[in-house]
Symmetry: D2
Amino acid sequence: MSTIGIAIVGAAGYGGQELLRLVATHPVFRVVHAGSRTHGGREVSEVLPQLQGFYRGLRFAGVETGIPAEAAAVVLAAPHGAARTLWPEIVAGRPDLRVVDLSADFRLKDRAAFDAYYGGAHPSLDAALDFVYGVPETNREAIRRARHVANPGCFATGAVLALAPLAEAGALRGDVCIAATTGSSGSGAEPKEGTHHPERAQDMRAYKVLAHQHLPEIEQELRRISGGGLFELSMVPQSGPFSRGIFTVAQLRVPDGVDAPALFRARYAREPFVRLRAETPALRHVVRTNFCDVAVVQKGTKVAVLSALDNLVKGMSGQALQNLNLMFELEETAGLLVPGANP
Amino acid sequence: MSTIGIAIVGAAGYGGQELLRLVATHPVFRVVHAGSRTHGGREVSEVLPQLQGFYRGLRFAGVETGIPAEAAAVVLAAPHGAARTLWPEIVAGRPDLRVVDLSADFRLKDRAAFDAYYGGAHPSLDAALDFVYGVPETNREAIRRARHVANPGCFATGAVLALAPLAEAGALRGDVCIAATTGSSGSGAEPKEGTHHPERAQDMRAYKVLAHQHLPEIEQELRRISGGGLFELSMVPQSGPFSRGIFTVAQLRVPDGVDAPALFRARYAREPFVRLRAETPALRHVVRTNFCDVAVVQKGTKVAVLSALDNLVKGMSGQALQNLNLMFELEETAGLLVPGANP
Amino acid sequence: MSTIGIAIVGAAGYGGQELLRLVATHPVFRVVHAGSRTHGGREVSEVLPQLQGFYRGLRFAGVETGIPAEAAAVVLAAPHGAARTLWPEIVAGRPDLRVVDLSADFRLKDRAAFDAYYGGAHPSLDAALDFVYGVPETNREAIRRARHVANPGCFATGAVLALAPLAEAGALRGDVCIAATTGSSGSGAEPKEGTHHPERAQDMRAYKVLAHQHLPEIEQELRRISGGGLFELSMVPQSGPFSRGIFTVAQLRVPDGVDAPALFRARYAREPFVRLRAETPALRHVVRTNFCDVAVVQKGTKVAVLSALDNLVKGMSGQALQNLNLMFELEETAGLLVPGANP
Amino acid sequence: MSTIGIAIVGAAGYGGQELLRLVATHPVFRVVHAGSRTHGGREVSEVLPQLQGFYRGLRFAGVETGIPAEAAAVVLAAPHGAARTLWPEIVAGRPDLRVVDLSADFRLKDRAAFDAYYGGAHPSLDAALDFVYGVPETNREAIRRARHVANPGCFATGAVLALAPLAEAGALRGDVCIAATTGSSGSGAEPKEGTHHPERAQDMRAYKVLAHQHLPEIEQELRRISGGGLFELSMVPQSGPFSRGIFTVAQLRVPDGVDAPALFRARYAREPFVRLRAETPALRHVVRTNFCDVAVVQKGTKVAVLSALDNLVKGMSGQALQNLNLMFELEETAGLLVPGANP
């Protein structure tokens, strides 16, 4: 099979590093451009020692270097806010270029929601209308046809997959309480106070309580799926003392007669990357994989849904690759079907 | 000041070890009996190397040894189910003996609730009526007068302190969704699958979803405080990859006009061991202390309350010592007012 | 390419689980038998949830089930001591069966060394003479021709790879001080006191100081390589608060004129799984990979060599697979050339 | 007993925070000045939430504020390099002021050693001759009489206590190989690449191999104790995935006839903060305490000594407090005799 060239903008960040890790064993995609603001000119495997022995000869391209013509797709793995600025330049004269943006810049269709949670100038916000929201499990056909995909946030992926079967069945109503815990790699490659090891090593804390910026995209997607829906989400994001993973707990009440576990079994029976668990998912079983494991428990009309995923894989670069597989009509699981580990 | 002798039954378990740690620097209490099923006859500081240099000469007493007369109080730190069996023997002929039981055996007044969550024979369940539920912040005066105190569960302490101010104000209504995460020491000193380091080190998972045995005692205490109350609790307990601590998230809707943060500020202004935080509590600041740190966030009528405590201290042996201080008319904070650390 | 069937004895232990994880994406090997003392009859992917979606239909075989004829190779992943008992039964009538034993039962050629460090009856110790010691980097050609390979211990792999270039060059002399730290998965799947999470989570300690049972196999291999050699090893094994990995520090003095870094550069230039680092290897870059990263620092005649590997991969099942690749004349790196991650 | 005022310069760093934690329960010392470059004017317990409920009213003093007259002692907890600059100002007109410097600025008597490992201008290097090296176990009487104490480095404390009994007995000879592992809090309060949680959480790596700046002070102290001595130290410092602690392994050969364990038993029998362990010390038992636990294993003439301490307590602020206790003729253990914990 011939290869398909992809470019990564922001390849030295955690999203970019993870994509490089995954593409290294992908049967079709080949990295033809690894852009980096800070490492332009240096060998990729020297800057990123985990890649020593891979990508021989590939060097980071500085910001002055454009996306090469041999790239059929580009993954924007730059910090939030960069994609919106780079946008005109990236797509200029490349109507066929497939784009997956890992940032939040093109996820929200609603300017008010964008302004409320992100703010700042957004010269290309109209382009968001052209982006497809990249959860394959809820949006597969649109992604196949899309040129531009807005890759969802990590919390958003965990929450959407935990609630989509209820939304589709019209069973998402009333208050939905989400408490989700993220690993430290979600904060990115730059050392910060919140990821300072001495203080994070055995800590747990919350942040952006009832105010996390992934809320509007979760709502947007669940309302789209449910065709509206009288539900209201609240979310308490927590920081856990682990490196990778998001563990999500959603609690809600379903209408009388709804059998939530049965809905999930039917809905996810054929999904390659969603696995149902009897009692609970566990982060350790999904870390470094593209799986999102889900469990549903119901007592009367009370339902708890739990989901676990790796924030850098199914919550970011693995899902981007899954989307690219769809956009290029490859096997959806290509390069991604790798088992997890236990210890 | 003269000393007061206390006996510990089950002194080699984690509850007992923590009590030994705390009593070592207490100005009044002195351990006169450290009971252990398995270590009878051995030096305490040899079995528990962290205590080397303390308790010189103290040896564990085997089960055949009764509570000595010089003990004015006994702390039952045996596994759940043991206290109910030992009960008649412990109190026989000792009407004045103060007892703090760390187990669940005497917490519930309602036999149906006990049977639903614990089951098994309970020859002394009537004695539970005589026990005071040992959360000093909600029950201080009763504890002062009590001979027998049922020390609350670790999850229960975190949840009760997160919700008591709302319950007292009549603002606890409707569905209350609790998601709480515990450290591994909550499982006790015996190695188990769930505390096997290779699988716990970077994991997160849930257990007893919507079915944890601390639910009925939380309900019992909050209903007592609120004088009834039309609320319904659900709880998803999670296991986190840290050794000590419980981090609790409660989400609910309050009646119009309720200013939840103001209620908490007023209610906890004078509590020595509850500290209000602006944004979030953090486990690292309470670990190895008797503090329970709390934060309250409100958006419209949606409220999130977060609490953090050390499951072995405020969630167990520290709270037992706080109760003993009250029962013996000592300074409530004696031996417990030690600051936490940051890294 | 047609497939080659392999059998795993002890497939539910950590060595077996890791082999199942690796073989799942191997291009040639196919698991035809997964033996387990305790899980006979159960679905592999139900007992090991990380494998859900893989090995559909494969069930664990109980101990009463023999190695099937379609297995061209067997990996013995049973606890130490089991292989020696099973040996006659496994090879009876199967002269061509390739065997890789993960245990220590057939590593030592010298009965006195075996008795000193392991002891117990060993009815098949003579068979050890027929086993090749399975470090491909020092023993590649012998492994290619071997029917039976004794896979090295995890500490032994780290130490042999850290010292082999010096041994080959005749520069291994005098006292060699090894201090190595292992992750908790090295203790196996069974919960034990030493792997109890509350006590291991932030701990560090040593064990079997100057007396670890991997010492004689390290010595045996280094003496074989060096053709004797006037050196004496000492080793202090430590337990670290991480799940996977062995980090080895060896300190020694080399003869005047020896340029240790140059020896390593020359020796490991073409090894696919040994990577030289400028300053230090890091566990995080080798975890879940078959790489052993090495750094060498020299000041005058003092030399420090550091190596890092994943105890379950290069220290165990990955190396077993590398050996099997060699034994079946496949590409040595087949199924093993996967990059590590950074966070 | 009346109180003694102490001032802390650099009180918001990890050394300062730890000293504030320890002094909070000290029977005699009282913090009268908490200096901070960055937090001048802010409440201590607001900047450091672990101290909420303590030090009510105390505010950080900016750099423009001098040491107040009511301070009988000052602890310099500023970054390395600051003390040497501040020195003239601090001692001007205060001949009686007791000073404990936590930095390396005044530890080395030898300018060549200082320049080789630290470099940079040192306007006050002569003052170092007046400083006493602050390991109470080896230097108790000199500390009692000292006005100025140079508090040892954390690695240095672990190594000196592991080797002092051999040095005193004239048994420290030949090559001494040290491999020591530090927790992340040793890097200080400022987030850095090396303490970025996603990369440190389960990692192990080395740094400054054979070149750590604590080597010359270890040598200086051991040579002083041994009266010279034909030994040569090498050290490989490692970074472990824990927050607090230093675990040190020293391997060496002793002269024939030396019984190393007996030397240690005799030497440390009466030391209040050094505890001998039978097999190994463990970090978890010393964390947050001022203890240094030590074990000695001997096979023939090979000896391994292991020590474990908390880098912020016995390796820094606890030892500073122990030194202050001596300098003010208080009980040496005042405020420091607190047991450790197990989980």
